[in-house]
């Protein structure tokens, strides 16, 4: 069913009794050309691109719970392509371009809102680092502007310019950055992929891999029975190590909790997405009115989807240092997502040493903004067996060769990325 204001009006006349399921409730078939493990944004986007770009429609997406129940539903909804290193820059811009056409692609309003992302700087050294990054972006055809203090004041007069411990000096602005409605991205891909014949199978947990005599993966064992597969793609960030272990793989990944917070809904207060450069705090305001904000990861390995109090305090301290006008705004909800923190802070999209098994993992904080790009390049890898040109550096063996993509320069210490 095509969604539009007209279909809504028509449906209203019949009391909305005629709407159909947003995606088909599929029961598993015996075999698919491609089975994707993980019904999050990445898995569903991969399925949609397999079907729409590569003509591979005999595809199943297996989700152990309900779709979007992992990090796709637990993030701060930011989209941007302001990365500084080769590999990341081109990939995230590919993703940004796909965000820009998402609603038309999917016939689903994911509320992609290009309201601008600004990273504030507080020192000369930080300004120089942002200049370097901004220039990288511009050289790669991505929009970037370096704002001085006056420009920041004009854009965000409510920041603390008077008595800050680390005064704001300026910012790096990407106007095309912004936010999207995270759940709608999941539902939109599910809606569109399902429409092209992809089977979305919820409450179907993968419990093992089926291997042939040569060790090739030929299917998966699931809580809903065995499902055969030409190829199996993993898109289970947060659980990558656990699923990979079923295939005997150890990964350069640790799982960490990243908290996020939302305030009570208030009338428009913050126009864009902002990152504090002297503390752990970033914020935007949702269309519903809540301030959506976050900070650093809790810092220790965890699969418990809950955050600790010290980090919550640290984030709010950052917020109050940057803009003490939010002091009386109340924090409404706190949640924690499990990040795949890779050893250099960048993702891995590659074939694995196990024939027939493909990996999409290690997204760290970049997972949500990467959703369409990740689906696009992972579909390419699954369809063509060669990496997409914007994902060639996301190889699994880069840690062996030393070709890391380390934006923060922190080395093999996942909790510092």
């Amino acid at each position: 069913m095509k969604y539009s204001i007209f279909s809504l009006a028509r449906a209203a006349l019949s009391g909305h009794k005629n709407w159909q399921r947003t995606w088909r409730d599929a029961t598993p078939k015996d075999r698919y050309d491609v089975v994707i493990i993980g019904g999050g944004g990445h898995g569903l986007a991969t399925a949609w691109f397999l079907a729409s770009e590569y003509g591979i429609k005999n595809v199943a997406v297996l989700e152990k719970g309900w779709i979007g129940s992992g990090n796709a539903g637990r993030n701060t909804t930011i989209i941007r392509s302001n990365y500084g290193l080769p590999g990341n820059t081109g990939f995230y811009e590919l993703s940004m371009k796909l965000w820009e056409r998402m609603e038309q692609d999917l016939n689903y309003n994911a509320m992609v809102s290009q309201r601008g992302v600004i990273n504030l700087y507080h020192s000369d050294a930080q300004r120089d680092a942002y200049a370097r990054r901004g220039n990288t972006m511009r050289i790669n055809g991505i929009d970037a502007e370096l704002l001085d203090l006056a420009a920041v004041k004009k854009m965000m007069p409510f920041l603390n310019f008077d008595n800050a411990r680390f005064p704001v000096q300026g910012g790096l602005l990407q106007r095309r950055g912004g936010t999207a409605r995270h759940d709608a991205v999941v539902w939109g891909y599910a809606h569109a992929a399902s429409g092209l014949g992809v089977d979305i199978i919820q409450n179907c947990e993968v419990t093992g891999f089926v291997r042939d005599a040569n060790g090739k993966v030929t299917g998966v064992e699931t809580s809903r029975g065995r499902i055969g597969a030409g190829k199996v793609g993993m898109a289970v960030a947060g659980s990558s190590s656990r699923v990979a272990e079923m295939a005997g793989l150890r990964l350069p990944i640790e799982s960490h909790v990243l908290q996020a917070f939302v305030s009570e809904a208030i009338k428009p207060l913050i126009p864009n997405v902002m990152t504090f450069g002297a503390g752990h705090f970033y914020v935007s305001q949702s269309d519903k009115g809540g301030l959506v904000f976050g900070g650093d990861i809790d810092g220790y390995n965890s699969y418990a989807q809950r955050g600790n109090l010290p980090v919550m305090e640290d984030v709010c301290e950052g917020g109050m240092a940057l803009m003490p006008m939010i002091g009386r705004v109340r924090l409404l909800r706190q949640w924690g997502g499990i990040m795949d923190m890779s050893m250099d802070g960048s993702p891995i999209i590659d074939k694995t040493p196990v024939d027939g098994l493909y990996l999409n993992a290690g997204w760290c904080y970049g997972g949500f903004k990467a959703t369409p790009g990740s689906g696009f390049v992972f579909a390419h890898l699954l369809a063509r067996d060669t990496p997409h040109e914007e994902a060639v550096r996301f190889r699994l063996d880069r840690f062996r060769t030393g070709a890391m993509i380390d934006e923060k320069g922190q080395g093999a210490q996942p909790n510092l990325h």
Binding site: S4, I5, L8, K17, W19, R21, T22, S69, G73, P86, Q104, N109, V112, S113, Q114, H122, S123, A125, D128, A131, R132, R133, N135, I139, N140, A164, R165, S263, E264, A265, I266, K267, L269, G279, Q285, D287, G289, Q305, L309, M312, E317, G319, M320, A321, M325, I326, G327, R328, V329, R330, L331, R333, W335, R398, T401, G402, M404, D406, G409, G411
Partner: protein
């Protein structure tokens, strides 16, 4: 009725009629009494319309009397203290209180946005996902701004919060949330057992439902028992009882978060006091006695002002002597609802009818009805006739199909009670369903936590007391205290019988989530579209995501979903419960860490002296460092810095470098230890000598650098960069304790022990001769380059002197114990006066290090190797050290790596900027030819032009090549020459001379 307060009873209640308080709501003046909430005062003044809903802007009244309130939200206070979305039901009245309704324009009574109701057939759950897509550009320009303006509720102040907050720690054996009968009994039991107890009560008065419902305990009226219990608790030295304090979160290891609203009941906090305090409570045991929340029944028109929870109506009448309605109807599916009838009758109010959904009503209730002349209707409320001025008539579907009408100005509703399971479920425990009370009760609570009383599904007063007391005894025992607790307080249990009823089908909007305008038909629509999982339901309809966090709506919502999917309620399940239990001001989480006190400040030993000299300071991590020392008449920083550099290069200057990390490395194996952490060798360093060292991470990338001196056979003095001081200490302790525990090494941070100054320039020795004891030999032979030893200073103190140079000049670093730091600065000025000594700051320091080609932070960026920095030759091949193996990986030794090189614009007048990229000359910039970037720049007074360091592909092979500095973000493009990074004195003659 009391003066002006049309709906105030003349007697009864816990308000203080001798303390009247004036307040304003939407600009209109009212009065109330001490002991009122804003809501109870509005009730007492006959105000029914208090707010507008989120989506349809429907008129709303007060639904509850507690923190679960979805409707009665106001902007409290004005100006910088304006607090949006404040629940009138928990806001204490104070003299001069100002509140305004929100989410309406131009006024609460005439809200233009209420036209949204006309579009409500289209504005169903998730409608926005299906439209606003064409044309794409319209989203940011038109649709979204309109949606954003319409959405949200109250307005934040928009200016800095003027109040203060703080945070504190508390420790106890037994923590108790809630001071109702269960909580008080638990506190008495635990306290008498000898446990340290903290009891937190959200309300401003202790007692919970006792304040509204009364009762008889141990033969005493509830109020009398309450005051005795509180007196007993107050007399126990290790029992702390806090009002206005909400337990909001449960964290690992028995840590709990609580918010104390210290001064929210005042117009503004008194001097030196905070507005709110966040408590982090560490408790061995935790008793959740947070009670239960009465739940609504979903029926058409259930959001009409005047429809109120039955227990809330009891509270307004009983506790506040405020009358929500004069002719009341009750709609209940359980026995407890009838208590509202009793309370209302006791206060002399009229009962219009009781609509009871159960098949039977007890004979005693029947006789109550006949005695008081009201009817009991078996059936359900199917519609409400009324509007912004309240309820007028109630339509009833009688069991059997007939219809009836009841005239009333208020409708009390009771759908049963939901135990407050949030606090027991924050660690992903899922509550379990109990059929007998048709409610979820706690299950899977974290270790050390139990729920008691109504919070655990025991609703009777007697059971609350008994179970609370038992929980208190057990908690104290679990924490190691088993003193005599005595016996539990005794009371009778009220009857509790309930027939589940969630939703009355009928025409008209029936609200599940009042604040977010989620209706029963929205839930049915969500199910139709496949959003059956409760998490999908929540996200698709926004059910339970409003400021009341679904306290009145979640269970009803999932019951309706269960009904349409044909599943049971426990099969349908609950969403994940998330803290905080009630919304908490962001300022409270920050405490005093805001503004200038966001982070600590570290001051160098000469800080105050530098401040007296007029130094400009720069933040370097937590440090304040002197950046330059401006002099009168200098037009900008560059002029000052250039003067400082020239003064050093031609004479002598000094700079406080105490911020460097300084570590004493002791032990018989200190040398062997350093050999393992540095790429070069230190075990063969002679006593009295210093050496530059480079350490890698285990992945082969450079971690830190610094100079390390050997002061004795078994004592090295190691320095780190300012930025990495703490991290290097941690790393070295890891090496010492975990990697190489067999070595005899002791580490001590002495960063704060020593005030360290760099003294540089050709006249350094002249200056030092003034201040160092004449017996000390400072000649090139007596104190050669890289020498390090203790010397005596004139006037009797000892110092450590290191002949090391960052500037490339003849230079020493001198250390004195830190409390001499300020004297040292003054004495250096004194000693250097004949030589024109000049204090210099970090900028001049930076200029001189760039002129000398020394790498620093911008080059040690966590991705560079020793070879990238031009320091590959330092690498020892004769030993193992951290990072050795990984440094040899192919990509880290590739010939096309970006390496440090010097750069200078070919146009000598041009300014060079850090962050500009390097592109081969004549090529169009693109990802394929982006060969590096400028890392550090300065205006070099020595070269008389801007110079810099850069990381450039194969840079060292390309010295002399003209390349392009591409800086599109600053709209600059110019040619630069790649050159030797050592711009100044490349042979090093000056520093050795």
């Amino acid at each position: 009725m009391a003066g002006g307060q049309t709906n105030r009873l003349n007697n009864g209640g816990l308000i203080d009629r001798s303390a009247p308080l004036n307040f304003r709501f939407d600009g209109k003046s009212f009065s109330g009494f001490e002991g009122d909430t804003l809501a109870s005062a509005l009730v007492a003044n006959g105000v029914k319309l208090v707010g507008r809903s989120f989506k349809y802007h429907r008129p709303r009244g007060i639904l509850t009397a507690g923190s679960e309130e979805p409707n009665a939200l106001v902007e409290l206070r004005t100006g910088a203290r304006r607090e949006p979305n404040t629940k009138a039901t928990t806001a204490e009245l104070y003299e001069g209180l100002e509140a305004a309704s929100q989410n309406r324009w131009p006024s609460l009574r005439f809200d233009v946005m209420s036209v949204n109701q006309l579009f409500s057939p289209i504005f169903v759950a998730g409608f926005y996902y299906k439209t606003f897509m064409w044309p794409a550009k319209f989203w940011e320009a038109i649709y979204e701004p309109a949606i954003r303006r319409a959405a949200g509720l109250g307005r934040a102040a928009g200016v800095a919060d003027p109040d203060h907050y703080d945070k504190a720690w508390a420790h106890c054996d037994v923590l108790i949330a809630g001071s109702g009968p269960a909580g008080l009994a638990a506190a008495l039991a635990a306290g008498r057992s000898g446990a340290r107890v903290i009891l937190c009560e959200e309300d401003f008065a202790f007692g919970g439902r006792l304040l509204s419902d009364g009762g008889t305990i141990d033969g005493l009226p509830a109020a009398e028992w309450l005051s005795r219990a509180l007196a007993e608790l107050a007399a126990m030295p290790d029992v702390r009882i806090l009002t206005r304090t909400t337990l909001f979160g449960v964290y690992d290891g028995g840590t709990y978060g609580a918010l104390e609203r210290v001064n929210d009941h005042m117009p503004s906090p008194p001097e030196h006091q905070v507005r709110q305090r966040m408590w982090r409570i560490v408790a061995k045991r935790y008793v959740v006695a947070a009670g239960a929340l009465e739940r609504p029944i979903v029926f058409a028109g259930n959001d009409t002002p005047g429809v109120m929870m039955a227990s809330a109506m009891r509270t307004y009448v009983g506790r506040y002597a405020a009358v929500p309605a004069k002719r009341i109807a009750l709609f209940t599916n359980n026995e407890d609802g009838w208590r509202t009838v009793e309370t209302a009758l006791g206060a002399g109010l009229q009962i219009a009818a009781v609509i009871d959904a159960r098949p039977d009503v007890s004979p005693s209730h029947r006789s109550l009805a006949s005695r008081n002349g009201f009817t009991v209707l078996h059936g359900s409320v199917s519609g409400v006739d009324g509007g912004k001025d309240g309820v007028r008539k109630i339509a009833v579907s009688l069991t059997g199909g007939a219809r009836a009408e009841v005239e009333a100005d208020g409708l009390a509703v009771s759908g049963g009670w939901n135990p407050a399971v949030g606090l027991t479920s924050y660690h992903r425990g899922r509550p379990k369903w109990r059929d007998d009370i048709a409610a979820f009760v706690p299950d899977g609570a974290p270790p050390g936590m139990v729920a008691a009383g109504a919070a655990n599904g025991d609703f009777g007063l007697g059971a609350c007391l008994a179970k609370g007391f038992a929980a208190g005894v057990a908690a104290a025992h679990g924490a190691g205290h088993s003193g005599k607790a005595g016996t539990a307080p005794v009371a009778n249990d009220e009857a509790f019988s309930l027939t589940p009823l969630w939703h009355v089908a009928g025409k008209g909007k029936a609200f599940v989530d009042y604040q977010h305008d989620v209706t029963a038909s929205d839930i049915e629509l969500a199910q139709r579209e496949g959003f059956e999982s409760v998490e999908h339901l929540k996200r698709y309809t926004t059910l339970g995501m409003a400021t009341d966090q679904g306290k009145t709506s979640n269970v009803a919502g999932l019951a309706i979903m269960a009904a349409v999917t044909g599943k049971s309620i426990p099969e349908t399940g609950t969403t994940i419960y998330r803290p905080p239990y009630v919304p908490v001001a962001i300022g409270a989480f920050a405490g005093h860490h805001r503004d200038e006190t966001f982070h600590a400040t570290r001051l160098t030993p000469s800080h105050h002296w530098a401040a007296e000299q007029g130094a400009v300071f720069v933040d370097t991590g937590l440090w304040k460092r002197a950046q330059w020392y401006p002099r009168a008449g200098e037009k900008d920083w560059l002029e000052s810095v250039t003067r400082e550099v020239k003064a050093v290069r031609s004479g002598v200057g000094f700079c406080d470098v105490s911020t460097l990390g300084k570590i004493d490395v002791h032990g018989l194996d200190a040398g062997a230890f350093l050999d393992r952490v540095y790429i070069n060798t230190f075990s063969n360093l002679a006593v009295g000598k210093a050496r530059y060292g480079l350490m890698l991470r285990e992945d082969g990338i450079v971690y830190d650098d610094g100079t390390t001196s050997r002061l004795a056979e078994d004592h090295y003095f190691l320095t780190t960069t300012t930025a990495k001081a703490g991290l290097v200490m941690q790393h070295l302790e890891f090496c010492r304790q975990v990697l190489f525990p067999e070595l005899d090494v002791q580490l001590t941070s002495v960063s704060d022990q020593w005030a360290q100054f760099s003294i540089a320039g050709p006249k350094t020795r002249d200056l030092l001769k003034e201040i160092v004891d004449p017996a000390e030999d400072l000649s090139n032979e007596g104190f050669p380059f890289m020498g390090a030893r203790e010397v005596a200073l004139r006037g009797g103190i000892k110092a450590r002197l290191f002949r090391i140079s960052f500037s490339g000049e003849m230079a020493f670093e001198i250390s004195v114990p830190a409390r001499y730091g300020e004297a040292m600065a003054r004495n250096l000025m004194l000693a250097g006066e004949p030589f024109g000594v000049t204090p210099y700051g970090t900028e001049a320091l930076g200029v001189m290090r760039i002129e000398k080609g020394h790498v620093a932070g911008p080059e040690l960026n966590g991705t560079t190797t020793a070879a990238d920095l031009g320091l590959g030759k330092m690498t020892s091949t004769k030993k193992d050290f951290i990072g050795r193996v990984m440094a040899g990986r192919e990509a880290l030794v590739a010939p096309d790596r970006q390496v440090v090189v010097g750069v200078k614009p070919t146009d000598r007048a041009r300014r060079l900027r850090s962050g500009a990229h390097i592109i081969p000359k004549g090529q169009t910039p693109g990802p394929g030819n982006d060969q590096g970037y400028v890392t550090s720049v300065c205006f070099s007074p020595t070269s008389d032009q801007w110079i810099g360091l850069a990381l450039v592909e194969r840079g060292r092979e390309r010295i002399g090549e003209i390349v392009h500095a591409h800086d599109p973000i600053r709209a600059e493009d110019y040619d630069v020459e790649l050159c030797n990074p050592v711009f100044y004195d490349p042979d090093g003659g000056r520093q050795r001379g």
